[in-house]
């Protein structure tokens, strides 16, 4: 069957299946299982109302459980086992983790990830805050915001191609077609550089791509937060003779501290999962490896599920503090 037809059929089956499930299960509950008539009408209504939420929740919970909760447990199990040739698994304890810890590539990925984790959220948040503040009071601010927000819509792969052209290198005697090298030569550089192969610094050239994408996200959220600051606090500061910088750093920033933290953590999570950019631009060569790409290498190139799962667990471990913080915040709000 043609995939497009299959797609349409899936939409039809999926949508009618969902609607049918919800409609029929509710009908069954109200008409057959606990009908709201007869001697037990009142009790039946109460019982039906106790069960109904679970009818509404069931498909979503099944999807969540199967596609997100179960894999966490299963990955943990896989990271403690090894595949036996011919099928089956054997328990190996922490051996996968030890094997991983002895690999220099893993520590290279860890080191790079630390840089990514510090620099990308910091730069994106700072730039986002800067743009949000600057565009707030100018007439064409909305157009400017729109353009800086635009990379959010571009795939990591697309962004990688865009930036690969910026970083492109031609031999010294030719015209440079990459913007960075053209600028470098223009400002007095002698030899064109192959930016993505310079160890250590090349990671920063990859980070630029993610900062370029994430700044728009930070800007949108921080700009809304800045607009939410009560005017009186700013007016009071102006009357007291505060200059624009003091207003920004002493009055505005402290009031949106929580939002800054939310933006920071959200970008941190994106950074931990970053895979496409490294995969498409360097594939972890020239010391640019990161955890997510290391894991992909282990799982699908080396076919080593044990170590692959162990590195996935490392990513999970790094996310956990944010997870706990988020859950606690959410619970606080609901009270």
């Amino acid at each position: 069957m043609h995939p497009a037809l299959q797609g349409l059929l899936t939409i039809a089956i999926g949508v009618s299946g969902c609607v049918g499930y919800f409609y029929l299960s509710n009908q069954f509950l109200d008409k057959v299982l606990f009908p709201a008539r007869g001697p037990n009408a009142g009790r039946n209504i109460n019982r039906a109302n106790m069960i109904r939420p679970w009818l509404f929740l069931f498909p979503a919970l099944a999807a969540l459980g199967l596609y997100l909760a179960y894999p966490v447990v299963e990955t943990l199990r896989l990271s403690l086992t090894d595949r036996v040739p011919g099928g089956g698994y054997e328990w190996v304890g922490l051996e996968n983790y030890i094997q991983m810890a002895n690999e220099p590539k893993f520590w290279e990925a860890m080191r790079n990830n630390m840089f990514w984790l510090i620099i990308v959220p910091a730069m994106s948040t700072a730039l986002g805050l800067l743009v949000a503040q600057l565009t707030d009071r100018i007439r064409w601010g909305n157009i400017a915001k729109s353009l800086i927000f635009m990379p959010m819509a571009i795939s990591f792969v697309g962004a990688s191609v865009i930036w690969k052209l910026v970083y492109d290198t031609r031999p010294a005697e030719q015209d440079q077609i990459g913007m960075l090298n053209a600028l470098y030569i223009f400002f007095g550089g002698t030899e064109p550089q192959t930016w993505l192969t310079i160890p250590f610094w090349n990671s920063f050239f990859l980070m630029v791509v993610l900062i370029w994408i994430q700044t728009g996200f930070a800007m949108v959220i921080l700009s809304a937060a800045l607009r939410g600051i009560p005017e009186e606090t700013i007016e009071a500061a102006i009357l007291d003779g505060a200059n624009p910088f003091q207003i920004f750093f002493r009055i505005k920033v402290p009031q949106i501290k929580t939002t800054i933290l939310v933006v920071w953590t959200t970008i941190t999570i994106t950074v931990l999962k970053v895979f496409d950019i490294v995969f498409a631009m360097t594939n972890g060569q020239w010391e640019t490896q990161v955890l997510a790409n290391y894991m992909y290498d282990k799982l699908f190139r080396a076919n080593d599920w044990g170590v692959g799962s162990a590195s996935a667990m490392v990513i999970m471990l790094l996310v956990t503090p944010i997870l706990i913080w988020n859950v606690r915040n959410a619970r606080k709000e609901m009270e």
């Binding site: 509404f56 969540l64 894999p71 896989l78 819509a153 492109d168 599920w305 990513i315």
Partner: protein
């Protein structure tokens, strides 16, 4: 008001200048790729894309018409014509007839041809060759010119990338595959999540708070953890790698954000509305379909855009759950990565392929930016 707010004219200029600088910095990389996608391979390889916007001076080797077009005028053999292809308007500054002296003559000069006869070239590329004897040979004379060419763009790359028969370059198939992945993967989670969000927002049952907390927790669980267990699961239940698997995976991975966004929005709807409907005897199912769904349209739209952008731009999930060895089900992002590997130098193909894949999200982005922003805010600022 803005004058009182501590802004000095000098500072205003700094603000305008810095915003302009940042916007240029943000737009130029994309612009470079867009412009490159309209240039020929030669143009891309020999000059930076920023030069293509202005007339450029180039050294070209051109050829006059062949001797069989010569005519006899008053006892002189003449060949006349224009060195450039029809439609090209270039301005020649210098020219020559030998590769060792390409700039020997200025326009209007007359040069001696090595094989006999003379040639005159004007600035527009019109030439006139004269000879007292018949021109011989099968090909015309070579003319080396230094000419200023106007900016030139072509749609040939798009034609090649979208319609090429050779499937290794073709984005046409990948485009439809991506669409096939994206649409069901956007619609189905919305429906499933909307019911759950309603239950979490407006129904009372034990364990509700715990479930909401669990959804918040699952929001940040890295996708990476799910790859192997789910691939194993898909292989075990027999759906293997394919569209069904990728639709299910995207539905599962999109679920926490969908529930979270929709629940937050639904919880903000006025309580009276729902309680009045309950008092009037509407069933929960009716309240949901007739009242909540239409009112939640903005939140549904927000999530739909997120999910659409995310599934359209995704590489990892497609690589793991969809793309098999046959390569028939490749998506655009994967196609681009393969092009990066095999044709890293062919910028005209790469740039065009990338732009084909970027175009749809960009259209969605600019058309529905309002909902996207609203969704982001609902998801983060709380």
């Amino acid at each position: 008001m803005s004058d009182i707010a501590g802004t000095k004219p000098a500072l205003r200029w700094v603000v305008h200048a810095s915003v302009t600088f940042l916007v240029v910095l943000w737009v130029v990389p994309t612009l470079g790729l867009l412009i490159s996608s309209f240039r020929t391979a030669d143009q891309i390889a020999t000059s930076g894309w920023w030069k293509s916007l202005f007339p450029s001076e180039q050294n070209l080797t051109l050829r006059s018409a062949a001797p069989d077009t010569q005519v006899l005028e008053n006892g002189v053999y003449v060949i006349e014509g224009n060195l450039f292809d029809a439609g090209t308007t270039a301005t020649i500054s210098q020219w020559g007839v030998s590769s060792r002296a390409v700039d020997a003559f200025v326009t209007g000069d007359t040069a001696e041809l090595r094989r006999g006869g003379t040639i005159t070239v004007d600035a527009q590329g019109n030439y006139r060759m004269e000879n007292s004897e018949e021109f011989t040979g099968s090909r015309g004379a070579r003319v080396f010119v230094t000419a200023e060419l106007p900016p030139e763009f072509t749609l040939a790359n798009y034609h090649k990338v979208l319609l090429a028969e050779d499937s290794s370059d073709s984005m046409g198939r990948a485009f439809f595959n991506t669409l096939t992945v994206t649409i069901p993967a956007t619609i189905i989670p919305i429906l499933v999540a909307a019911f759950a969000a309603y239950a979490l927002a407006w129904m009372d049952f034990p364990g509700r708070a715990l479930l909401i907390a669990a959804v918040v927790g699952l929001l940040v669980v890295p996708l990476q953890l799910a790859l192997i267990p789910l691939l194993k699961f898909h292989l075990n239940i027999g759906i293997g790698k394919g569209y069904l698997g990728v639709w299910m995976a995207h539905t599962g991975f999109g679920m926490p954000l969908a529930i979270y966004l929709l629940r937050n929005y639904m919880a903000g709807l006025p309580r009276d509305l729902i309680e009045n409907a309950r008092v009037d005897g509407a069933t929960e199912f009716q309240i949901f379909t007739k009242l909540i769904l239409p009112l939640s349209f903005p939140a549904l739209a927000s999530f739909a855009i997120f999910q659409f952008l995310w599934t359209w731009n995704d590489l990892l999930v497609a690589k793991v759950f969809l793309i098999d060895a046959s390569g028939q089900t490749t998506v655009m992002t994967n196609q681009i990565v393969e092009l990066l590997g095999t044709r890293g130098g062919n910028w005209e193909i790469l740039a065009t392929a990338a732009f084909v894949s970027i175009a749809v999200p960009l259209i969605v982005f600019f058309a529905m930016q309002k909902y996207l922003v609203r969704g982001l805010l609902a998801g983060s600022v709380k």
